[in-house]
């Protein structure tokens, strides 16, 4: 494999890792607050549909992204009401929301556009288009680093850079602010947070809403940046890969970024089986590469590669009075 191919591969890694990263960080807030969320997939899907549809009508990717966030927030709200207010089973709620999203998106898209559950193709300002970073053309001639900057770092949509900025932001919020301390505490020991006079439901609701916003961005990215429009089941299990990445990263933001980049790299590899074959000299079925994130996650869960211990109060509704 030559340098140019590697750069191509890394370029698509960044593009494919972005929705995983946004969804993964989304899950991080919810799960750190003690609300397990296997409904990331559904929230992304709803957001993708809303973003695709509204971007088509308004011709603005930004308005589309806002609509995506709004749609995802509605689902986050249902998740919050079910699992925080009514103390329902968080996992079952997540499963329900995924099915609801899978059906509703097609129903609505079919009603609006009548194209078999797709939105019409988006173009121009209705999509988040690639941005050329400053000096990318001038630095192109610099050996090794120049092409890397030009091919890999530059030329992505704003949401890609936003996703990586949110990694830093999440780290800062989680470990350097009062809110972050409380968030981590409420996922480990809600009774202690309650005793300190902080409302457990309010804190958890806020976390679930942040999850909604980030899933909204992830979905908007899918429909208006990575692809040109919404398509039926377009998230294709990315919500679950993000969940896997979250476990792989042991619920920590910086590690989540590396996990998503790794899983994004696998996805990029799966689109280029010829490269894999060139390196290992054996034909490896694409399905094996596609299964890698899941297999790795099972290994991590099994504790063979360090132990993944979830937030202690995760999955348990908090009951104030005993």
């Amino acid at each position: 494999m030559d340098y140019a191919t590697l750069l191509q591969l890394l370029d698509s890694t960044l593009r494919l890792a972005t929705p995983l990263l946004l969804a993964c960080l989304a899950g991080l807030y919810s799960e750190r607050s003690g609300v397990f969320d296997i409904g990331l997939e559904g929230k992304m899907l709803v957001a993708a549909m809303c973003a695709g549809a509204v971007a088509f009508y308004t011709g603005s990717a930004w308005v589309g992204a806002l609509a995506g966030i709004a749609g995802s927030l509605v689902f986050a709200l249902i998740h919050g009401v079910t699992s925080i207010t009514f103390r329902g089973n968080q996992l079952i709620a997540g499963v329900a929301l995924n099915f609801l999203a899978s059906g509703m998106t097609v129903l609505v898209a079919q009603y609006l556009f009548g194209q078999g559950g797709r939105t019409p193709p988006l173009e121009g300002a209705a999509r988040f288009n690639p941005i050329d970073l400053p000096l990318s053309e001038t630095l192109k001639g610099v050996p090794v680093i120049g092409p890397f900057y030009h091919e890999v770092i530059s030329g992505h949509s704003i949401l890609v850079y936003a996703a990586f900025a949110i990694v830093a932001l999440t780290w800062w919020v989680l470990y350097r602010t009062r809110y972050g301390l409380r968030l981590r505490a409420v996922g480990e020991n809600p009774a202690a947070v309650d005793t300190a006079g902080v409302s457990v439901p309010a804190l958890r609701f806020s976390a679930v809403m942040v999850t909604g916003v980030l899933c909204g961005l992830a979905g908007a990215y899918m429909a208006t940046a990575l692809q040109a429009g919404f398509g039926k089941e377009m998230t294709a299990g990315r919500g679950y890969i993000a969940l896997a990445a979250l476990i792989f990263a042991k619920w920590r933001p910086i590690q989540a970024m590396w996990a998503c980049l790794l899983f994004g790299f696998f996805q990029a590899l799966a689109t280029r089986p010829d490269i894999v074959e060139g390196i290992v000299q054996v034909k490896i079925p694409v399905s094996f590469i596609e299964a890698l994130p899941y297999v790795l996650t099972v290994f991590v869960l099994a504790g063979f590669v360090g132990k993944a211990i979830p937030p202690r109060a995760g999955g348990e509704p908090y009951v104030k009075e005993r």
Partner: protein, 366 residues
């Protein structure tokens, strides 16, 4: 909090949940500019008003009984087996291998062999998540989700690279030999008086009913069943009573995976008669809805499976004859899981309030 009377707990709570789900579905249909009354008429007409419709409704219901029972058994041990989909796909692989590579003189023997193959493969696919839960404390929900995806990849590999007959393009196995053909309802003497045209419902339906009885016997009439339920209610108490958690988790998940795998004799052996990609087509997930709606009791599961069979066949008819997309059934499925599973507490709180209201009235009157 006041307790609900037993009849309300058994019948009224699921009924109210179901009504709420139906109401919201109706609102969804109105929102996309269609007529819910018309929709329900089409659904009923196409699924239960004639023998042909029943042939499909019962076929779907058979699959859902297996996956519903699979989820039920695991639930009783406090385990949420989300991996029915993957286990059912692996069950399909078991059926295909048994039917394709072993010579069978008669369908009865083939059915026996295929059932064993399906259950073994399904159980094997549940065994690893079970072991990881029992020994390494990995959360079974996450591992079974991961195993669904690993199963999907594995099946694509098996169908594209291993089992696909040479010269064929579509990722599927060869057709099973005619000796392994299971009698459909229209080929069973007696039933063929009712089912005159070819329908997919087949003898597997009776195996599914028998399995419901077996699961009931297992859970409420055997020592193992008692241990499973005790473990599900309280792990520390079960441990104190000398019940071995590893053993219970392993056995329960093997049974659960085996039941999910058994589904394949209905769809792979009974209907398609070859193994296709995505063979379980979501039935593994519907098992979750069926188990929740059936309140984790075999009788409830059978009834809920029939209802979902109706929903599936009716939904397909909607896709054919109206402007309502077939995906409506996914919406209804989500709503049923939401209301019967996650919002159970809300419905209960609501009903408890109403009952309390009546009680105070009675007291005042007296």
């Amino acid at each position: 909090m006041d307790r609900l009377p037993r009849w309300a707990d058994v019948a009224l709570v699921p009924f109210v949940s179901l009504t709420l789900a139906a109401l919201i579905s109706a609102l969804v249909i109105i929102a996309i500019g269609q007529d819910p009354w018309e929709a329900i008429k089409v659904m009923v007409q196409g699924s239960v008003m004639n023998a042909y419709g029943w042939g499909y409704t019962l076929y779907y219901a058979t699959s859902f009984m297996f996956t519903g029972l699979a989820v039920t058994v695991a639930f009783h041990a406090g385990l949420f087996n989300i991996g029915g989909e993957g286990q059912a796909q692996l069950g399909g692989l078991g059926v295909a291998l048994v039917c394709l590579f072993l010579p069978w003189p008669h369908w009865t023997l083939a059915l026996l062999g295929a059932s064993l193959g399906a259950a073994l493969f399904g159980a094997a696919w549940a065994a690893i998540p079970a072991y990881l839960q029992a020994k390494r404390g990995s959360h079974i929900v996450i591992t079974t989700i991961m195993f669904n995806y690993i199963a999907a990849s594995l099946m694509i590999f098996m169908l594209v690279d291993v089992l696909r007959p040479p010269g064929k393009m579509d990722p599927a196995t060869a057709n099973f030999p005619p000796e392994t053909h299971l009698p459909s309802f229209n080929e069973i003497p007696g039933l063929n008086l009712v089912f005159t045209s070819g329908v997919p419902a087949n003898v597997t339906f009776f195996i599914a009913l028998a399995m419901a009885v077996v699961v009931w016997l297992l859970l409420w009439r055997t020592r193992l069943g008692y241990q499973i339920r005790a473990f599900g209610k309280s792990e520390p108490a079960a441990r104190y009573a000398g019940i071995n958690p590893t053993r219970i988790i392993m056995i329960t998940m093997l049974i659960s995976g085996g039941l999910a795998g058994l589904m394949a004799i209905n769809n792979v052996m009974g209907e398609a008669e070859r193994l296709l990609g995505n063979s379980a087509s979501g039935a593994g997930f519907i098992g979750i809805a069926v188990a929740l709606m059936g309140r984790n009791h075999p009788v409830g599961v059978v009834l809920a499976a029939l209802l979902f069979g109706f929903l599936f066949q009716g939904g397909a008819e909607l896709g054919l004859w109206t402007k309502i997309p077939i995906e409506l059934r996914t919406v209804v499925q989500g709503l049923v899981i939401l209301f019967t599973g996650a919002l159970d507490m809300m419905v209960r709180m609501l009903l408890t309030r109403i009952f309390a209201l009546f009680r105070t009235r009675k007291l005042e009157a007296a």
